[in-house]
């Protein structure tokens, strides 16, 4: 939800400046943090100075106007702040010297960088997502250091106290230094090995935002980060696939709930409210995918939904084929369940039910209300309305979320009407 637009010229100017700070921070924040870490080796100092630079901008820009090169302006302020702190602490001359030489980019930073110069932000992302850090530390550190989310916000949205989150971040930064985790992007075969771990952190950031009954928390950050990674590593098509997947799912963010706030399943959503620009960007990214990894197949499935003019017009046989492929490379009970759904729509409820039987035979879906709801839907389409209604009620009794329970009970009521 955006706040209502302020009235009056002064308010408009300050809102414009605030937006400029926001826009600049998306691009500049991780660059500033990454650069200061590279030069000083001090993670906390880098974050504090970058944060302070943003605060100074919020104070000055409304009065002085937005500078021509906002990113360069912010880096200069952050660098000067770091110089002050280090001078006061009188640390090694070398760091001070390197900092003093650090000149902010002049408008065209990325284009000017030679091929062999690794973007500092990429270094930062790979270090924050190092496998020698616990997964929750990776998520928290990425949000704090790369995305610039305040510690208090991360704590609130990940349901821990602020002091716990502060400790977790401090421990992670200390561990990077103590364990000898390098500030470097791996090369060659090591890159291929490490990239999936980085993408898994991004995926976690994105999905944490999709808890039932909750609003998206970090989905915007995940999309921005995927976009940045895709720009920095254009040859890694699994990155493009993940970006496409995010964009397709994110395109439905305004259509997922009805006016009362109830979650809507895909076929009940108003497709006019899907974000067409996000879908177009996703299709562009998917177009560059030249391999068949897990994110590529998931993105292709999401693209089938995103491009269908109606639920009935969905290309279910294509989705069924994609789930067949996913089952081959990354089998899981949830994939097996979704595959049964896809085959049910593509080839009829009988095909879906036989795959559902097979999926449930493994025991991995025991007690999963979603599996019961899928069976209910397939049985309903076979024509056994009473049995289907009973199954929907069984699923409703087993879900945790009140919103989902209501939706399942509504389906049961429709069938017995």
């Amino acid at each position: 939800m955006r706040p209502p637009a302020p009235v009056g010229a002064v308010a408009a100017a300050s809102a414009g400046a605030a937006r400029a700070v926001g826009d600049a921070s998306v691009e500049a924040y991780p660059r500033i943090v990454a650069t200061l870490i590279r030069v000083t080796g001090d993670w906390a100092l880098a974050e504090d100075c970058a944060q302070e630079a943003l605060a100074v901008a919020l104070e000055r820009w409304p009065a002085d106007g937005v500078p021509a090169n906002p990113g360069g302006w912010l880096l200069t302020v952050a660098r000067n702040r770091a110089l002050d702190v280090l001078r006061r602490a009188t640390v090694e001359r070398r760091k001070l010297h390197d900092l003093a030489l650090l000149t902010p980019p002049d408008g065209q930073p990325e284009a000017a960088a030679p091929e062999d110069v690794v973007d500092d932000r990429l270094r930062l992302i790979f270090t924050c997502c190092h496998p020698a850090l616990a997964i929750e530390a990776r998520v928290a550190l990425t949000l704090r250091t790369v995305c610039g989310v305040p510690t208090g916000d991360i704590a609130r949205l990940l349901l821990v106290s602020e002091s716990t989150m502060t400790r977790r971040l401090t421990r992670a930064r200390t561990r990077i230094a103590q364990a000898g985790i390098p500030y470097r992007v791996p090369s060659g075969p090591a890159l291929t090995e490490r990239l999936p771990g980085v993408l898994a952190v991004l995926y976690l950031l994105f999905t944490r935002g999709y808890v039932v009954d909750g609003e998206p928390a970090f989905a915007d950050e995940a999309v921005r980060l995927a976009r940045l990674l895709d720009r920095l590593m254009p040859k890694q098509s699994e990155v493009a696939a993940l970006l496409a997947l995010f964009l397709f799912q994110h395109s439905r963010r305004d259509a997922r709930r009805d006016a009362a706030g109830n979650l809507l399943t895909l076929e009940r959503q108003d497709r006019a409210r899907w974000d067409r620009a996000a879908i177009a960007e996703g299709l562009g990214a998917l177009d560059r995918v030249r391999h068949d990894g897990p994110y590529a197949w998931q993105a292709r499935i999401a693209a089938c939904h995103a491009t269908a003019s109606s639920a009935d017009a969905t290309d279910w046989p294509a989705i069924a084929r994609a789930y067949d492929a996913l089952m081959g490379i990354r089998p899981s009970p949830v994939i097996a369940l979704n595959r049964a759904v896809a085959h049910g729509y593509a080839y009829g409820p009988h095909a879906g039910l036989s795959l559902l039987d097979a999926a449930q035979a493994g025991g991995g879906l025991d007690g999963n209300p979603l599996a019961v709801a899928v069976r209910a839907d397939l049985v309903a389409r076979q024509g056994d309305r009473l049995w289907a209604a009973a199954l929907f009620r069984e699923a409703a009794a087993a879900v945790d979320s009140t919103v989902e329970r209501r939706a399942l009970l509504d389906r049961a009521a429709e069938l017995t009407r």
Partner: protein
């Protein structure tokens, strides 16, 4: 950075015998590259003796200080540029598959 690499047994080893690295080749290569300073194999824990002094009294007992199913069977002292290099050295050790390896940096007492 210096790392003590503890070579440990594991209750769930990887039993795939294909392309199992040769320990002698591993030692030779890492010694030659200056990444391994020393290392050795330890006798079984049944040969261990635990020593304590409490209230001035010497207490000597038979066996390791902690009875566990996973035990330290050897060690290597590594000198690597960073954790990534140490991980590369460790992964090529045969016990990475038949057991597990723990990389422990030395405490930086000057900091």
């Amino acid at each position: 950075m210096k790392y003590m690499m503890f070579v440990c047994s594991d209750t769930e080893p990887d039993n795939d015998p294909t392309d199992l690295p040769d320990i002698h080749a591993w030692v030779a290569e890492n010694d030659a590259r200056g990444r391994r300073l020393t290392g050795d194999v330890l006798a079984p824990t049944s040969a261990a003796t635990t020593v304590r002094v409490r209230k001035g009294e010497l207490l000597v007992s038979e066996g390791p200080f902690a009875e566990t199913t996973e035990v330290i069977v050897g060690f290597d002292l590594l000198d690597c540029a960073d954790l990534d290099e140490a991980i590369e050295v460790a992964r090529a050790h045969p016990m990475a598959r038949e057991g597990r390896l723990e990389l422990r940096p030395f405490a930086d007492l000057s900091a």
